[in-house]
Symmetry: D2
Subunit: 342 residues, 4 copies
C-alpha cells in the first residue's frame, strides 16, 4: 500500500468498528465497510479513531481489525488511530499497523497537555516512540481532547517532525485556523501539509473554500463528503453549498456529542453496511423517539438526494447507489429532487 | 410589567449589549433593539446574558442598561442575567432589575460546581441571596459553563425553589433531557415549568417537538425563531422544518464559540438595528473572509426568506419586513414572501 | 494468597515499577522491592497504580510484572491497579492478576465522569466487566483524576457492589470524608469497608484518628507508615505525631505532583532497593539541586530516625534496618534507635 | 505610600477580610489586622486576594475596605487584588486602590486561558485597562486558577509590561520555576523582578534557597514567615529549617483547599486579631473535630515556638510576642522548647 504523504487529499471516511449485538467484533461487517467505502469512491479510510470505540478493544483485537480492514480495503489508504495512554502501546499498534500495510497512523494529544511546550514535546516523544519512518496524522480536536493548539504550535510540530504528513483539523471554530496555516505556507514558514477536516463535516462547505484538501470524518453518507469536496475543487461554489445544505440537518443531528456514534451506526445499519447498530459496552443507544427523528431527517434529505432513501432492506448489501452527480453533462449539481430547482 | 411565570412561552430573544466603536454603551441602539424585538413579535427579551458581554460592564453600567431596556421594551417581558462570582453582586443587580420593572432574572451555575449536591446547594444559596420573591430562570449550559446537571438534579432545584419559573435549556445533546423533564411532569414528580431552548437554535426544530415551550436564544433573525415556534405549536411539522432548514446554514455559522457574537452583531448592524458591530474589549472581530461568508449565507437564506435580504442601508431603521411564508401547494419547502397564511 | 476483604488494615505500600536506565523492566529490582516490603513489615503492596507508570507498559509487560511480584511477595497481599481507558483491557488484566494470585484489584474512575449517576454507573459497569467475584479497591483521588465523589456517592458504589472491599481515600481535604463514611456505618447505612489513605501520607496522622484502617501510599519509608499506623491504633497520639512530624518535611517534598515519583525512586535507589532511579519515557528527573534538597532532608530526618540515614552503598541490598523508636521517658519526640518498645 | 517596585522583598501577609457573624464587614477587625501585621514586622500586606473572599464583596464594599486598610496600615505597603471577570471592574477597583494610597495591585489570569498567546495577551489587555502607571503583581497559581504559565511565558509577560513589579509564585511543584526565572536573569533575558512565594508557605524553606525574595501568603503566624525569610537571607540554613519544620504540621493543615481559610480565621480569632472567625456566605466552617485538631497542632507548635501558645483571651489585642529568635547572640535558631535540642 502506498504510504501517506502531504499530497493526500479527497475524502477519508472515519470508520466505526462493527460489533455484533453481544459485543464481539463483527468481521463480516468490516469487509462490507471496506467494500462500501471503496465503491462510493473514498480515497482513504481511518479506523480505530476516537469514534471507532478503540479504547474498548484490547491490543490483540485492535491488531486483528487493522489486518482485516487493510487486506480488504485494497486500493484505499488506511490510516490507523494509535492514540494511547502510553508510548509502549502506541508503538506496538503503530508498528503492527504498518506491517499490515496501513498507509499511516493518527495521533491525538494526550488529555492534560496545557502549555505550548508540553504539546510540542509530546509529539516529539510520540514520534521517537513509534519511529520516524511512519507517516502520521496530527489530530487537532480541542472539543473532545481539551488540548488547544495555536496555528504556531501546529507549525512547530509539523516542522519539527518530518514524518507528519497531515493535519486532521477539527477545531471549532476552525475556519481562521485553516487560513492561518495556509498563510504560513505562503510566507514560507510551513512546509507542505495535507489538511483534511473533521467535526462531522459541519463546516466542510467553507473549510474547502479556506483551503482544506478534503474531508476526514464519519458522516454516514461519505458520498456527500466526496461530492462536496469535488464540487468545491471544481469551483462550483453554489452547487457545493446546495448539496451540503440539503444534508446539513442530518449532519447537524449526527454531530451531537455521545449520540453521534449511535446515529451513524443506525444509519449504516439501515443502509445495509453494518450487520448491527450495536456498540460495545458502555455505549449509547438511540431512543425510539430519536430513531424516528433520524428517519424523518433521512426522508427529508432523500427529497433532494436519492441516496438517502432507505428503501433497501436493512440486512441487504446492495450498494448500487445512484451516484450520478459528477457525470451530469450540464456541469450542474443535479441533485434528485421533485422541485429540481435547488 | 408582568412577572415571569411557568406559563411563559414563545420567543425570548437574547439581546447583545450595544457598544460604540470606542467601547461606550450605545444607548440609542438599546432603544432600537427593544423596538426591533417588539415589532417582530418577540414575547420577551433576555439582557446581560453570557453573550451580552455582561462581565465587561461595571455595576453602574449594568443597572443603567437594565433601566433603559425595560423602559423602552414596553410590553416585552425582560429577563436580566445576574450571574456573578459572588452573591452580593448577584443580589444587588437582581433587586435593581426588579425595581426597574424586569420580569425576572436568569442565573447560571458558577463554574467549578461538580457534584449533584454542590449544584443544588448553589441555587438554594442564590435564591436566599436574591430573595425568594424574584422569579428566575435556571440556565443549563454545560458546554460553556462546564457544570453538568442531570434531569433529576434540575428537578431537585425546581422543586426546592418555588421561585424558579423557567429552564433555559441548552445542553448538547439535549433532546432526551427535554423528554425526561416532561416525563417527570407526567409522573407527577415535577411541577409545571417553562422550558425555552438556547444553543443558538441549532436544534429548535426537534426541541419544540420534544416539548419545549419556545426559544430563548440570540439568532440574528428572531423572526425565524418566532415562526418555527409557532409552526411547531400548530402541528405543521414539515413547514416548521422547511423554514428552519433554510436558515440552518446560517444558524450553524452563528453557533461557533467565540465567533458567534461577532456574527450576530455584524448581522444586526447590517439589519440597521445596531449602530456598530463593535464589542467592548477584549472582543472578537470578523475577518474580511468571514464577513464575506456571512454575506454569502445571508444571500442564500434570502432565496427562501426575504427577511434575510440585506438591501436596506446599514444605518437604516426600517423594520417593516415581509414576514410571511407561503404554504406552497406542492407541499415543498417553497418559502415565499407576501402571503399571510403561516 | 488470601483475597482482600473489608477487614484489610495496616500498611499497603504503593510500589513503583522498576526500570533499567534504558527503559526495560528491571526484574531483579521487582524481587528486591517485594523482599523490602516484606521485611519492613508491610501488610500488602499495590502495584501498577497511578505512580507505578502503568500506562507506559503494554499488556504483556503488565501481566509479567504482576506474576513476578505476586510470586515473590509471598505472604503480602498484592493489589493490582487495573484502571484502563476501556473495560476489555481492564478485564483482561484483572483476570490475569487474580489467576496469578493477587488479593484484589484497584479501580479509579475514568476522567470525565461528572454527575453522581455517571460515577456510580461507571463502577457498576466495571464490576460487570471484571466479574463480581474479584475483590476491588475504589480509588478516590480527585486532585489527579478530576472526578469528585461525595460520601453519599461512595456509599452508593459500595452498597451496590458487594465485591468492593476497600476505599483508597485520597481526597484533599479529606478528613471530614472519613468521618462522614464512619458515621454512615454507625447509622447503619453503610456496610463494613476498609479505608486506607493515600496522598503521600500528608495527613496520615489525623486520618488514623478519624477512623482510617491504615495507609496505602508510596512514601519511600514505608516503615514510617507502619509505625504511625501502629502508634495510632495503640492510642499513643503524641508518639505517633512526633514520629510523623519528623518525617513531614520529607513527606511534603515527596508529595509534589509529577516530581514525587522521581523523589521516591531516587530515595529507594539510595536505599539499595531499586537498581536505578530511572523512569520509562516520558519521565521526570531530579535536578542536581533537587537531589541536594532531598539529601539534606534525609539527613535532617535521620537525626530523629536512623532509618533515613543513607550510609549504605546505593547498590547494596542490606535491608537490616534499625527500625526501633524509643518511647523516651520525658514524653518528648526523642526518636531513637535500637530499643524495641514502640 | 511608596509604590511597589521590583526591589520589594520580605514578608507580605495575605489578609483575610473580616466579617461579623451576620456577614457585615467588620471594620474594627480591619484595624486590628493592620496593626497586627505592622507590629509583627511585615513588609507589606495583600488584601482582597483569592482567600480574601473578594468575589463576595460588591464594588462599594471593596473600595471601602481598601481605604480603611491603607489608612490604618501606615508604613506597610498594601497590594490590592483586583482580579475580576471583566476589565471595567478591574480598572475601577485598581484606580480607586491607587487613589487611596495602595502600593500596587495583584492580577490573576482569568480561568479558561490555555495557550501561551492567550495568557500573554490577557495581561497586556489588563495593563491597558488599568493603565501602565500602576505597579502590579502577576499571580501564578495553577492549582486554583487552572492556568499554566511556563517560565518563558512569565518572562514574556514581564518583559512586555514594564509595570509588572513582582511575581506571586505559587505553582506546585514550583522550585525549578524559581531557578529557571533566576537563570533567565543571569543570562540577561529577564529584567529584575521581585519573587514572593505563596502556597501557604508549604515550600518556603527551599523557595528562599532557590532565590525567592520573600513570602506572600496567609499563614496565621506571619512571624514564622518573617523569621524564615530572615534566617534564610542570613544564610542560617539549619536554623531556618528548624523553625520552619516546627510549624510545618500546622502549615500543612492550613493548606487544605477550601478548609484553609476557616483555619486561618479561627487561629486569627483565637489570637485576638479577628473579632469573629465568620466567613460571608457561602463559606466553610470548621467542625468541632477540626477545631480540636487545630488546637492540638497549636499546642504542639507552642512547645517550640511560644508565639503559638493560645493563653491570651480570644478577644484580647495583646500583641507583645516573644520574638527573640533573631536577637540570639549565638547565631542559632533558639526556638523555645522544653527539649532545647532542636
Amino acid at each position: 500500500m502506498t504510504r501517506l504523504t502531504h499530497e493526500a487529499a479527497g475524502t477519508f471516511a472515519i470508520a466505526p468498528t462493527p460489533f455484533h449485538d453481544d459485543g464481539r467484533v463483527d468481521e463480516a461487517s468490516i469487509d462490507r465497510l471496506a467494500d462500501f467505502y471503496t465503491e462510493v469512491g473514498c480515497d482513504g479510510v481511518t479506523i480505530l479513531g476516537i469514534l471507532g470505540e478503540a479504547p474498548k478493544l484490547d491490543g490483540a483485537e485492535a491488531e486483528a481489525i487493522v489486518r482485516r480492514f487493510v487486506k480488504r480495503a485494497g486500493s484505499l489508504q488506511v490510516v490507523v488511530g494509535v492514540s494511547a495512554p502510553g508510548f509502549a502501546a502506541m508503538r506496538s499498534l503503530a508498528r503492527a499497523a504498518m506491517d499490515a500495510g496501513a498507509a499511516g497512523v493518527m495521533i491525538a494529544p494526550t488529555p492534560g497537555l496545557r502549555t505550548d511546550d508540553q504539546i510540542t514535546a509530546y509529539f516529539s516523544q510520540a514520534v521517537e516512540a513509534i519511529g520516524a519512518d511512519i507517516p502520521w496524522v496530527l489530530q487537532d480536536y480541542p472539543l473532545t481532547l481539551n488540548v488547544v493548539m495555536t496555528p504556531a504550535v501546529i507549525r512547530r510540530i509539523v516542522m519539527d517532525n518530518p514524518s507528519c504528513a497531515m493535519l486532521k483539523h477539527e477545531d471549532w471554530p476552525g475556519l481562521e485556523k485553516i487560513t492561518a496555516l495556509r498563510g504560513f505556507q505562503k510566507d514560507g514558514s510551513l512546509r507542505p501539509l495535507s489538511i483534511l477536516t473533521g467535526n462531522g463535516a459541519t463546516f466542510l462547505d467553507f473549510e474547502m473554500e479556506r483551503g482544506a484538501d478534503g474531508a476526514m470524518t464519519g458522516y454516514a453518507f461519505p458520498e456527500l463528503l466526496i461530492d462536496v469536496v469535488r464540487l468545491s475543487k471544481e469551483g462550483r461554489r453554489d452547487a457545493a453549498h446546495d448539496l451540503f445544505d440539503a444534508h446539513l440537518p442530518m449532519i447537524r443531528y449526527e454531530q451531537q456529542p455521545g449520540v453521534g456514534l449511535a446515529v451513524r451506526k443506525y444509519v449504516l445499519h439501515r443502509r445495509g453496511v453494518l450487520g448491527s447498530p450495536a456498540q460495545r459496552k458502555p455505549g449509547s443507544t438511540l431512543s425510539d423517539r430519536a430513531r424516528g427523528e433520524v428517519d424523518y431527517l433521512l426522508s427529508r434529505v432523500a427529497r433532494f438526494d436519492k441516496r438517502a432513501s432507505m428503501t433497501r432492506p436493512a440486512s441487504g448489501v446492495d450498494l448500487t447507489f445512484d451516484t450520478h452527480i459528477a457525470a451530469n453533462p450540464k456541469g450542474e449539481c443535479q441533485i434528485q429532487s421533485s422541485t429540481g430547482n435547488l
